[in-house]
Symmetry: C2
Subunit: 237 residues, 2 copies
Amino acid sequence: MKQVKALVFDVFGTVVDWRTGVAREFAAFLPAFGGTDLDPFALADAWRALYQPGMEECRSGRRPYTRLDVLHRESLEKVLAANNITGASEGDLDHLNRAWHRLDPWPDVVLGLTRLGRKYFLGTLSNGNIALMANMAKRAGLPWDEILGAEPTRAYKPQPEAYLRTAEILAMKPGEVCLVAAHNGDLRAAHAAGLATAFVARPTEHGPGQKKDLAAEGPWDMVAESFVDLADKLGTG
Amino acid sequence: MKQVKALVFDVFGTVVDWRTGVAREFAAFLPAFGGTDLDPFALADAWRALYQPGMEECRSGRRPYTRLDVLHRESLEKVLAANNITGASEGDLDHLNRAWHRLDPWPDVVLGLTRLGRKYFLGTLSNGNIALMANMAKRAGLPWDEILGAEPTRAYKPQPEAYLRTAEILAMKPGEVCLVAAHNGDLRAAHAAGLATAFVARPTEHGPGQKKDLAAEGPWDMVAESFVDLADKLGTG
């Protein structure tokens, strides 16, 4: 970690609790459309389940880079149709689609990032688009120095370009950049691209019965319990 | 201005005093290379004079988009050669080239942006690249919500794409975005692209004898004396 100058963060799951936040928004949305018998957490999981297939269309080259807000909107409409929710206006749908802009961070995040930012350049390396990430940061007070990731690099993780072009934009060598993530698969791809890696477990990202990503599963440079623990371990005061 | 949701800022000249900052760095650099008889302000002006020709190579299509740090480095080497400054190491040159990352804001900027950020999304719309803008912001405490401009849009102002793609990344209509700039030419191009416009004069950007951009020269939506005055006029508390 000694050569690391920038920490770049996975966001959905690592920084913010997307499942609780999206379920909260479904719970507010459903009653007006007769959906009070539906489980908002199940709908959040169903929406998220269409995340990787949507990006895969772009990764495979079958579709040009399309920002996540657009992919989210398409998958939201599928989830609503599958649950017979009809009659939502364009404004309703747009508001619900922006649930991802209004996610709350895990409790350790703002303090941890604030401390880490005293020593490191802090960026996002998310598959979220710039407006999504920037709106989220403004609402939640996330002190990013810069929003990077899919939209500036025009590549979706785990494509190597997503990691390598992020380092290039920062004018840093890959080894000067460390990915912080709660997902071993993301860290594996970053490691293969030459980035440093730090794992922070988020054992309730997928709810109380989560079975994966409960522990580090690779030769990651750092393993921490939280962003505050990461700041302690990196000596950022 | 009623429909405006985001303020995007020209940076060199409008936000930061590039001439004083670059001259200060030349003054520190020159003695080690026998350049004590040279005027650091003249060197700053000479370096800046190569700014538009460098970008014009990219705008014209003769050269692909090349980030400003690279163009700055090429023009710095020309300025030094023209003044018979030789013997600087790669480290010396890189450090001096990053003078643009270490520019100070005008005195009203941090307070004005902090107040404006309570009501508006704040972005950069500069020809500077992301790392340059982000390093500057971190050092100077500029509270941007997002760094936009030339590198994400792959276009140099005053190309229309620089303005239009910035609005597109923000997922806003051009008229929901207002360019704040000290340069009438920049505002003219933004206005032509459909953006709202705000002029803030910086009458000493080019030193005590400045002759251009002393006053608004177009139908700009707002004219303010400073960023604090702009915050007052926009009612941002």
